[in-house]
């Protein structure tokens, strides 16, 4: 299973770390070790996934790995599926006030650009800190109220593709 390839994960996490301000090599290594343990742990729990979903999951992990340098813990769980134009994927999550969250999503070709948005339990969009880079995107959020929220993954450019969502908290 490609999700078990720690060497590839280590290289990619290192590359992301270098692009983040104030992140040293030591922190990068910590993230790498963490991600190594994490990927080994989740690979077996992933169940049957398509190759596209596995590839998308790896992109999502790589992106989420960068947040571990800021003290975020990656939740050992993920959601993979398919996004289509004008058909955002919507996933319910339950969040706690006081925590900070990052929702990281990876997609694969032919998706060219994706976006992540968050909605409260009444369906109203909440303000998030956003990161977008083509086939990967993330939304950061600090809820003031505990309860149910909805993560929306939108295909902004490109055609239907596999995607994977992971989240981190601190």
């Amino acid at each position: 299973m490609s999700g078990r390839s720690p060497a590839l994960v280590l290289n990619k996490v290192g590359a992301i770390d270098l692009n983040r301000p104030g992140v040293g090599a030591l922190l990068g290594m910590t993230a790498c070790l963490f991600l190594f343990v994490y990927v080994l742990g989740t690979a077996s729990a992933a169940g049957a996934e398509t190759d596209g979903e596995v590839a998308a999951r790896k992109i999502a992990f790589d992106l989420a790995g960068a947040f571990t340098n800021d003290g975020f813990k990656m939740r050992d769980g993920h959601w993979c599926g398919t996004i289509k134009p004008h058909e955002p994927a919507l996933i319910a999550v339950n969040l706690y006030a006081g925590n900070q969250y990052w929702f990281s999503v990876g997609a694969i070709d032919p998706a060219k650009k994706i976006a992540v948005n968050l909605y409260d339990e009444n369906g109203k969009q909440v303000t998030t800190e956003n990161y977008n880079a083509g086939e990967k995107a993330a939304a950061g959020f600090s809820p003031t109220g505990s309860g149910q929220y909805f993560v929306s993954v939108d295909l902004v450019e490109g055609a239907a593709s596999s995607f994977c969502l992971v989240y981190s908290y601190k």
């Binding site: 070790l33 963490f34 343990v37 994490y38 080994l40 742990g41 989740t42 077996s44 729990a45 992933a46 169940g47 813990k73 990656m74 939740r75 050992d76 769980g77 993920h78 959601w79 599926g81 994927a89 919507l90 996933i91 319910a92 999550v93 339950n94 969040l95 706690y96 006030a97 006081g98 925590n99 948005n117 909605y119 339990e121 009444n122 369906g123 109203k124 969009q125 109220g145 505990s146 309860g147 149910q148 909805f150 929306s152 969502l165 989240y167 908290y169 601190k170």
Partner: protein, 270 residues
């Protein structure tokens, strides 16, 4: 000119929020109802709950330990529920940075997992938990506990025990809520009390329990837990802006405590 400008400003102040509110994208009820809900991402881990509880101030984690539970349950549903509770206990020990307690709980988790026949890969997890505990690697330990829980669930799915997966999550949520409500009662703080608001989560757990096989659902313990959740759902369904009072927190604690007692009660096992 000045009064006119003032009047224009006043009009803008009145109109702008309305205009902005109208511009905020919204999802329809139908869209919300169709959203994916999954055990692996929609049910928070005890670690997430405990992380939020720590924000106003570190609770007395070791004060939340409970006496060791029996390891000789025969009922598979009861084992699954207790496994979830034990994993939550593991998170508490990690928060307390108590390596011996982590090792004890890690060993109990493996014993219960063995009783369900899902222990092969978990033995190495048990060794890792011991090693990380000895080296005080608390962050990694938390991830290891989550991974252990997922591995138990994954193994259950492989062994056609899919119905037991939700019971592990339920056990973890109940034990986590018992600990958090107890900690809030000991040191009441409105911000922490608001963490108990999780009506959608219980509603989801209910729907999952309604999906399990009729045989398992009819088992006295599972039936009892499902019935008790109805009352608990009401207790944690307060408005988002309102913090429950100490008395309301106590009611939550008593309700989840009652369920936890039934879960760990050896005489209930069949």
């Amino acid at each position: 000119m000045f009064p006119m400008r003032r009047s224009l400003s006043a009009t803008l102040l009145l109109v702008l929020p309305v205009a902005l509110a109208a511009d905020v994208p919204r999802l329809s009820r139908d869209q919300l109802a169709k959203a994916v809900r999954s055990d692996s991402i929609s049910i928070p881990t005890p670690g997430e709950l405990f992380a939020a509880l720590e924000k106003p101030g570190k609770p007395n984690w070791s004060g939340q330990y409970r006496a060791p539970i029996p390891m000789t349950y025969r009922n598979r549903a009861q084992i699954a529920l207790n496994l979830g509770g034990l994993i939550a206990d593991g998170f508490i020990a990690v928060e307390a940075k108590d390596s011996q307690q982590v090792k004890n709980i890690g060993s109990d988790i493996i014993k219960l997992a063995k009783a369900l026949g899902v222990s092969e890969h978990l033995l190495s997890r048990g060794n890792s938990i011991n090693e990380f505990a000895e080296n005080d690697e608390w962050d990694v330990l938390q991830e290891e506990l989550e991974a252990t829980q997922n591995e138990v669930k994954s193994s259950m799915q492989t062994h056609s025990d899919q119905d037991l997966v939700i019971l592990v999550s339920v056990g973890g949520w109940i034990r986590g809520t018992q600990v958090v409500s107890a900690a809030i009662m000991q040191n009441y703080d409105e911000r922490s009390a608001k963490l108990l608001r999780q009506p959608a989560l219980i509603s989801f757990i209910h729907s999952k329990l309604d999906d399990i096989s009729p045989g398992l659902r009819a088992e006295p313990l599972v039936k009892g837990v499902n019935e008790q959740l109805v009352g608990i759902e009401k207790l944690v369904s307060f408005p988002a802006a309102k913090a429950p009072s100490v008395d309301e927190v106590r009611k939550v604690n008593e309700a989840v405590g009652k369920v936890m007692e039934a879960i760990q009660n050896k005489t209930d096992a069949k």
